[in-house]
Each structure stands twice: as C-alpha cells, then as structure tokens.
C-alpha cells in the first residue's frame, strides 16, 4: 500500500512539474497585464504537437524541440498583437472572453493542422527507468525536472539580477509611476505573452514523450495550470512552482485511490477551496479582490 502511494507521489511530481511551467506563464501574464489568459494551455499543445510532428517526420528530437518552442513563442506574440492589443480599452469581462476565444480557436487550429490522432515524441534520451526508493520514474522525468529547474532559475535571475527584470517589477508594483519613468508597459505586455508562450511550449515539449500529444491536451493542461497558479498565488512565481507540485501530487493520489476520473475533479475542488478560504494563494502577498 505504502509503495503504491509512493508511486502515485512520484507520478504526481512529474505532472506537477509541467503544471508549474504552465502556472508560471499565467503568473507572468497576470502580473504584467492583470489578465488571466485562458489560452495558456494551448501554447503547451502547440509545443507538444509541433515537436511530435517534426520528430515523426525524421527530425532529431532536440532540433524539433527548439523549433517547437519557437513556434509556440510566435503564436504567443500573434495572440497578443491580433487579439489582446486591439482590445486594450475593453473591460475585464471582455478580455476574459477574448482569451477564451483564443483558447477555442487555437485548439481548432491544432485540429486543422495535426488532425485528431495522437502523435508521439521519442524520449530525449533512452535508458532504463529510474528507481527512487522503490518507486519508478521514466527517464524523461529527469528532463522534465531539469527543465523546471532551468526555467525557474532563469526567471529568478531575470527578475532579481537584471535591469529589465527590475523595470518589470516596478511596472507591476505601480504602473502609472513606472510609466512616468519611461517604462514601456505595452512592450512588457507583449513580451510577457511571448515568454509565457515559450515556457508553456517548452512544458508541452518535455511532457510529450510521457503523455503523447493530442490537439485537445491544452485545455486540461491549461486548467491544471490555472489551479496551480491560483493555489500558489497568482502574483507569485515561487507559488507557481509550489502550487504545481502540490496539485500534481494530490491529483495522482486522488486518481489512484478513487478513480482516474476524479483527478481533474479534485484539482478543481482544491481551486474552489483556495478561492474561498485563501484567495491570495499559498505564497501570494496582497489580498486582491480581483
């Protein structure tokens, strides 16, 4: 029984790492624009599908992965330029509907381009399964965790130790004042979409060898990413990391003990509890009645 539970925890760590990446995208966009981007999960879908399609047609895995992240980033840029920016004057609810439209449109686009059949991506490196205290992880899990480490380290260094990162933090803290100091808020909004899309795309690429890639994977991943972001605190990148792992582990435990259908249900029950009991999330700072 204990061994079984431990195996669920390990499986939860792997999916949790992906949730954390998608949650990081939410937090980036939310902090800079105040917007919840409902299309976030679709960036992961585009990354996963592009990499899988290229690899299937014979491209080496790492090249395919790099191009996939690039394609996801360009998608993010286009989303901002074509859908978000023209509606900047709109109210909150309108912007929510627009990102909802983006989600549905990107999923449909994925269906057009890649069809309904799942695509698979070879693991980045071969080798035997990794054993951790009696539990088993696929070799790809190491790449997933390594990606998390690199992405969150890069985000930390950017925000704490670069000039541009400091400027973004200033813009988040007080947009009007930051603006008077010449900080370009719109440019930051653009780059927050590009960065969120790149990170989401990367998450899709590294998870594809484990789950395989389908055109409709984005919604599930995106929703899990929301839950992780809200759980950790929508204004906290470390929160995204913690939220992702907590959600992944709880989901897999619930799925293992109850039934797999409850995985998503449990995630949303957590979301509802957090929204009601602690809307600022585990690591969030200010109480925002957004």
């Amino acid at each position: 029984m204990i061994a079984q539970l431990w195996q669920y925890v390990l499986a939860g760590v792997v999916v949790g790492a992906i949730y954390a990446l998608i949650a990081a995208g939410f937090v980036l966009i939310y902090q800079v624009t105040g917007l919840i981007n409902f299309a976030q999960g679709e960036f992961a879908m585009i990354g996963a599908m592009t990499a899988s399609a290229l690899a299937t047609s014979g491209m080496p895995v790492f090249e395919a992965a790099a191009i996939a992240v690039l394609v996801a980033s360009v998608t993010g840029a286009l989303c901002y330029l074509l859908a978000i920016r023209p509606a900047r004057a709109a109210t909150g609810v309108t912007l929510i509907f627009i990102t909802l439209g983006l989600d549905v449109a990107l999923r449909g686009l994925g269906l057009f381009v890649w069809g309904t059949n799942p695509l698979s991506l070879p693991a980045f490196t071969g080798g035997a399964a990794i054993t951790v205290f009696g539990g088993v992880l696929p070799p790809q899990a190491m790449w997933v965790l390594l990606t998390d480490l690199l992405v969150f380290a890069a985000l930390y260094l950017f925000f704490r130790h670069t000039y541009a990162g400091t400027a973004v933090r200033a813009a988040v803290a007080n947009p009007p004042i930051a603006s008077t100091f010449g900080i370009p808020l719109r440019t930051f909004a653009f780059w927050s979409f590009v960065a969120a899309a790149a990170i989401g795309g990367l998450g899709g690429v590294v998870v594809a060898p484990i789950t395989s890639a389908t055109y409709d994977m984005g919604l599930t991943l995106g929703l899990a990413g929301f839950v992780a972001a809200v759980l950790g605190g929508l204004d906290s990148l470390p929160g995204a990391l913690v939220g992702g792992f907590v959600l992944g582990i709880v989901e897999k435990l619930a799925g293992g003990v109850l039934s797999t259908g409850w995985e998503q249900g449990v995630g949303f029950l957590i979301l509802v509890l957090v929204l009601v009991l602690r809307p600022q999330g585990l690591l969030g700072r200010a109480v925002r009645r957004a």
């Binding site: 409902f38 509907f97 549905v104 449109a105 999923r107 449909g108 979301l271 929204l275």
Partner: protein
Amino acid sequence: MGGVLVSRASPAAYGRIALGLVLLVAVLVWFLPSYYTGLLTQIGLYALVTIGLNLFMGYAGQVSLGQAAFVGIGAYTSAALAVKGHVTPWVGLIAGALVAALVAYILSFIALRLRENLLALATLALGIVINVVFNEWEFIGGSSGFKDIPGFALGTFTFDQRAYAILAWALVAIGIWFAGNVVRSSFGRALVAISAGELGAQTLGVDSERLKRQTFVLSAVYAGVAGAVYASSFSYIDPSSFSFLLSVNFVLMSVIGGIRSMWGAVIGAAVVVALGQVLQNVVPVVLPSARGDFQSFFLGVILIAMLILLPRGITSRLREARA
C-alpha cells in the same frame, strides 16, 4: 458594456412579439423538413439558456463559464426521474429547474464572492466538476448517460419534432416575457446599478449579494428548463453533451446577439446554430482533412472578432440604425 440601459419596449410589447414568434414557429414546422424542425428546437433551447445568461452577465455584469452544467443538471434530473421513476417529463421539467436552482443557490455562496477573473475561473471549474460527477456517478449512467428517455405527452398524443419546436419556443416566449418584466422592474435597475459599480450600488441601498444570487439562480432555472426539454426531445444524453465547449458556445451566443438584450439571445442562438450547420457542410468540402470538432476554430475567431469590432453585439447595431 454601457449602451442602452433599459429597452424602450413595454412589457406588453415584449409579450406580443414573443407570442408572434411562437405562432410563426407553429406555422413553420408544418412546412420545414423534420431536420430543420429539429434545428429550430435546438435554437429555441439555446436561446432560453442565453436569455438567462444575459440576465446574469449583461444586466448584473457578472460572468459564468459553466452554464452548460446547469443545462446538464436539468437534463439529468428529468431523465433520471423518467427512466428510473417513470415520472412524466412535465414533472421532470419542474424538478430539473428546481434542482438546477438549488445547485446554483448552494454554489453561489462560493462563486459570487469572487469578481471578474476569479469568478470566470470558479464558474468554469464548477462546471467541470459537475461534469466529472455526471461521468463518475453510475446511478445516472456514468459515461454512457441515459438512452431511450421518455418523451413529453399530452393525453394520448406523444410529442413529435413539431411539438417540441413549439414547446421550446413557447418557453422562449415565456422566458422573454418574464425577463423583460424583471429587467424593467426595480430589481432590473438595481442589477444595472451593480454592473456599473458594485460599491456604488451598495451605497444606494442595493443588497448586491442577494440580487446577484437571485439572478444566478434565475439563470440556472432557464438552463435547467432547457436541459429537461433537451433530454426528452433528443431521448439521449451523456456527459459530453454538457461540456465546457457548450458553455463557451453560450458565451458566444450572448456576445454575438448583445449581452444586454433579450432578442439578442434569440439572434445569437440562431446565428451560432446556423453557423455550425454551414461550417459542418462547407468546411469538409474545402478542406477534406478536417474532422472532429474543427468548428471551434471559427467559433473562437468569431468570438474574438465580435468583441473587438462589435463588443455590444448585433442588436446594438440594429438599435443605432433604428434610432
């Protein structure tokens, strides 16, 4: 959203036009092929849900991305009563509306504490949790749902496609008449005050929590009634009939027609259903590789385009043209 706050039409005019619609449908069904009669029923049921959604989103200024779940609750309640308990769908209709209302009432204590972004997220999440319950609860059929759901009957007459179309539009007429009265009452003006600014409304003595809750429950009643009729008229339901994508479709209908308009709900439902038919027939000809639910691409693009170009919906343009 701004715009015309209170429609100029009087309640009596609402009632007359709505009655005219029912008569039109009652005549049309004798000339249309049965396939189109089925579509007419579908438009009517979608319009009914959207009217309720417009009260909550357009007038009270809130947002719900989980309306399909209330349709599902109405449908499942009526179907379970009919299949398991041999209860007539007429009672199922009322029971479906009541259960949807009860669930909305309970959920409102969670969801309505939140605003905009988080409210959208919470309603979306609750909608999906309810869908998981449909899938996992074996008593109501689990993932395979209900088959051979008994239809409506009056005496010895069992409803056919025509009768369902007339029933659906009669319900639309009642729904529009009722919503029209709600909107023009002090209740409706208080809702508009909430959408303009909740704090401001509270300082004017509006009990915003209570009004939002009542409107949310009312929107669930509209959805529950539509769901109950849907279950009997299609005689088959499963959890995928009430997915997140259906909720997005309701948002699209609301936005296309005009979020603060009762007729807009009807127009939006008609446009979305017609569009679905056109896409289903045209796209596979142009792009033979297109399969599955490719229509969502166009629905998404149209939703974005509407919000950027015509954020107050088609009816706002009609109103300007008339003025």
